[in-house]
Amino acid sequence: MQISGSNELVEQILKNDLCVACGACVGLCPYFKVYRGKVAMTFPCDLTQGRCYAYCPKTEVDYDNLSQTFYGKPYQGSALGEYRRIAASRAGDKMISGPFQNGGTVSALMTLALKTGMIDAAVLTDSDGLIPVPRLITKEEEVVQCASAKYVASPTLSCVNKGVEEGYDRIGVVGTPCQMTAVAQMKCNLLDKADFKDPIAFTVGLFCTWALDFRTFVDFLSDRLDLSTICSMDIPPPPAEVLIVKTADKDIEIPLSDIRPLVLKGCSVCPDMTAEWADVSVGAYEGKPGWNTLIIRSEKGEVMVDEAVKEGFLIVDELPALNLAHLIQGADGKKRRARENIEKAAAGNDSERNKQPAVTENWKMSSFQ
């Protein structure tokens, strides 16, 4: 895998509009900045290799290397990635309640991780109106302030860089699959630094099919309603096919077909629905509001979940086979679409091919069966 510098990152990713604003490159150096959901490079940097390029989930990602590092074997390309156990879950009685998106599993796990000292800081995503606000928190009670999903792409990982800068060395991170890919690369010492130390202690991935571009989404919504009245948003699991915008006095349903054009272009080539590189991954529970689907992937994840159950922070139940089947179907579907989109672009003329990130080749090689 070729690790390049910021100029290549700008050429391959930013200029091709493939950036999903995960925030991995923001705050590493003085050059990458994010404003209103868009990442920009403010001045050129002439280094030929940079962490920005190494961490970015949209440049070429060496899945085999990640899989070897975390699971000790080559990447298989199965729908849900490597895992130990899949279950249903929700926050237990010991967890304070909050405006959870679904079952509050994510918030519960992060709260406990802070409480036990497993992590010394958590990187979460708060919001200010529609705009997601990355936050680096250290107090348990701050976790619920960040509960609920923001369907707009958030440069959350900038706070990982901030946490490292501030000297935290056991950071917990919650993020989408692309963010978990970036975090996995942050944990790998890809640039072979002698003084490297993995600063991340625990990761919770969110299921994700796509995220929205803040700027176009805001323009879209402000044509339809007063932005200041929005309380929260939800995408109920299929077959609903709507985005529900909850305002102070009413719920507004927007068909997903209207929303799709506002999805980030980078999401169309994303093969990961269930955050395959996280310790645990959490999503909605189809047909059972107030519950989550929980994928436990790593040993650390397993220990954490068991502890959470023991401490009354989490309630775990069986996930019905039909739900699992739907989940696999959904995850496979995302992989298939990503592959099609990549191949479509690769089959295009030369200039189109050049617009594809280096990741293309790698995926063709090993990602999909």
Binding site: L28, C29, P30, Y31, K33, V34, Y35, R36, K38, A40, M41, T42, F43, C45, D46, L47, Q49, G50, R51, L191
Partner: protein, 645 residues
């Protein structure tokens, strides 16, 4: 050094060309002098402004050149001697009024002193004011040395009174900003009184109304005046021929080119073969004198800078005189002997003469030249212009650049003339994308702002200085507000006309003479015009960037951001450091990923240097002004500032 308004009659003083012009005006008994700062003209007004108050003199830095000309004209109408001083661009600004003034005629002696800048040594064009004299149909005088700068200025007032019209005395950078010895004349004793007569016979030039109508009558009169000037010019002591009676080559030249020419002729030892006609009165040309001198030879070389103004006028006369003086061979700009662009110097003239006379000349031994060139190439890296250490503009453009990049909609900045013009270069992060005349940034932005109708969505900014704001931005701002142009105007308010040497302007509480003056508040003006205004200190990056983001997000109408911080060269700041700066080399990330020399590679304040041996940044304490700004850009906080007690 020399006190310009002391009598000292008959003594010699080393004066800058501009000081000589000022002295000439004082010897002529000038009462009113007005101007707008512009290199290389500024020291004329500055020098007069410093003349002690016992001399009853009124001096002002006007808001712009047109107003300056109008202020000077009023004094002339009231019978006083007056002058207007400006750089070449300024004549364009004053042109509308000038055309009317030359038509109406004047009373008290009045001169316009444009200082041109051949080679654009401190301008963004090398425009010419000489052709304005022809356009306005007024006499043009061009001093050729320092003594003449004084003497001709004095004489120009007399000429103006003789013909009752404006006279142009044109200088250039290499005269205005050079110094030489000048023998002083007498200063007048009596103090004139101002009175404007306006109720005499309507067409009476001295007692009627001062207007340019009826046009054909007044225009006819103006030509009578020109004829009179020509007669006077025929015997003017400022037109001097030196050389043999029948030279092989006649050089006709004027202004500082005369000094270059003499140098070249001297170096080549051509004194016996070349005659030089140095003209002081270059328009209209005196035909009898020209006939006599051109009759001496067949070959004529005309030496002047920039446009072939003198050359064309000489050629017109030569063709009219051809039956008497014969047909001449001309060398000059039109045949390519001399360049059309850029300034001249003795070397360029040497090379022309060497060609005409088929001579050989070596200015330095070739082995020496080769060696010197090799060493210079190896060891004298170019020195690009930069904002000064501690300059608020560097900070302002830092924020502007960062905000536009982060905003990520390909926004751009329109600018104009001032120190901040340097923002076309890396020192201002190449932020300026258009740069034209004074105030044009905002006018151009106003136009860009209306292109949304054609699908243009880029954010549009303009920048202007505080002095420029009053000079010519206000009408553009009114235009933008009235037409609902969605633009953001950034006023870089450094409390003075910094580029030209810190002259006061209407935004300050002091006038040219150092008297207290009511200041006009830029923020209040902008608000009254109907713009939304924010003010920030450019040294406060966070506050400035936040303010700019807020304004950019507001998509309605005109926004103004005033960035206030005094120029690093201002007398208040110059002598004292606010902070003692240092770099903690342990913390400096240098070239590694995470910084890659942001401070020296990008921010580039000359006060910070890159220490190659240690691979860290370092403060050059001989240059750093201690503004403290760079401490805020270092990503690892390695640049430390400590307040100076």
């Amino acid at each position: 050094m020399t006190r310009i308004a002391d009598d000292h009659k008959g003594t010699s003083h080393l004066l800058m060309g501009n000081e000589a012009i000022a002295r000439g005006a004082l010897e002529a008994g000038v009462s009113v002098a007005a101007g707008y700062p512009g290199t290389p003209s500024s020291e004329i007004i500055s020098t007069l402004a410093k003349v002690p108050k016992e001399h009853n003199l009124y001096v002002e830095w006007s808001t712009n050149e047109k107003v300056a000309m109008e202020v000077a004209a009023a004094a002339s109408f009231a019978g006083l001697r007056s002058m207007c001083v400006l750089k070449q661009n300024g004549v364009n600004v004053a042109a509308d009024f000038l055309l009317h003034l030359s038509g109406s005629g004047t009373r008290g002696g009045i001169i316009i002193v444009p200082c041109d800048d051949p080679g654009a040594l401190s301008s963004i064009n090398e425009g010419e004011s000489r052709h304005f004299a022809r356009l306005l149909e007024i006499p043009l005088l061009e001093p050729g040395n320092f003594q003449e700068a004084k003497d001709m200025t004095k004489w120009a007032f007399e000429l103006s009174e003789e013909i009752r019209n404006l006279v142009m005395v044109r200088s250039v950078t290499r005269l205005s900003h050079a110094s030489g010895n000048v023998i002083f004349g007498e200063l007048p004793k009596e103090a004139p009184r101002a009175f404007f007569k306006h109720d005499g016979f309507i067409l009476d030039p001295m007692e009627g109304i001062v207007v340019s109508v009826p046009v054909s009558y007044r225009h006819g009169q103006q030509h009578e005046k020109l004829k009179k000037s020509i007669e006077i010019f025929e015997t003017s002591p400022f037109n001097i021929y030196t050389g043999p009676d029948n030279p092989e080559l006649l050089i006709i030249t004027a202004s500082v080119c005369d000094l270059y020419t003499r140098e070249a002729v001297h170096i080549l030892g051509l004194q016996d073969r070349v005659g030089v006609l140095k003209l002081g009165t270059t328009w209209p040309l005196p035909p009898k004198l020209m006939e006599k001198v051109m009759g001496r030879t067949d070959k004529i070389l005309i030496i002047e800078e920039v446009i072939p103004f003198l050359e064309e006028n000489v050629k017109i006369l030569a063709s009219e005189l051809a039956p008497k003086i014969g047909i001449k061979t001309f060398f000059g700009k039109r045949d390519g002997s001399l360049p059309m662009a850029g300034e001249l110097n003795p070397d360029l003239i040497i090379s022309v003469l060497v060609k005409i006379f088929s001579m050989r000349y070596e200015s330095m031994p070739s082995s020496y030249a080769e060696k010197a060139e090799t060493y210079a190439l190896k060891a004298a890296p170019a020195r690009d212009l930069t904002f000064c250490p501690g300059c608020p503009h560097r900070a302002s453009f830092w924020s502007i650049h960062n905000v536009l990049k982060m905003d990520n909609q390909e926004g751009f900045v329109c600018g104009d003339i001032g120190c901040y013009s340097l923002a076309t270069l890396p020192t201002g992060f190449m932020s300026l994308k258009t740069m034209h005349s004074m105030g044009s940034g905002t006018g151009v932005a106003s136009g860009f702002g209306k292109l949304d109708q054609f699908g243009m969505e880029q954010p549009i900014l303009s920048v202007c200085g505080d002095s420029t704001f009053f000079h010519s931005v206000m009408p553009a701002l009114v235009n933008a507000v009235h037409h609902k142009s969605n633009i953001t105007v950034v006023v870089l308010d450094n409390s003075g006309t910094a580029m030209t040497g810190f002259q006061p302007h209407p935004g300050l509480k002091v006038d040219a003479r150092g008297n207290e003056a009511p200041n006009i508040d830029i923020q209040a003006v902008c608000e009254a015009i109907g713009a939304k205004v924010k003010t920030s200190d450019p040294f406060d990056f966070d506050g400035t960037q936040k303010a700019l983001f807020d304004l950019l997000e507001d998509k309605e109408g005109v926004k103004v951001l005033i960035l206030k911080q005094i120029c690093a060269l201002s007398p208040e700041k110059k002598e004292k450091k606010m902070f003692e700066m240092s770099v903690n080399i342990e913390e400096c990330l240098g070239q590694s990923c995470g910084c890659n020399r942001l401070c020296t590679r990008i921010f580039r304040c000359p006060g910070l240097v890159w220490d190659k041996d240690n691979q860290t940044a370092r403060i050059d304490e001989a240059i750093c002004t201690g503004c403290g700004v760079c401490a805020n850009i270092c990503p690892s906080g390695a640049i430390k500032k400590e307040e100076v007690a």
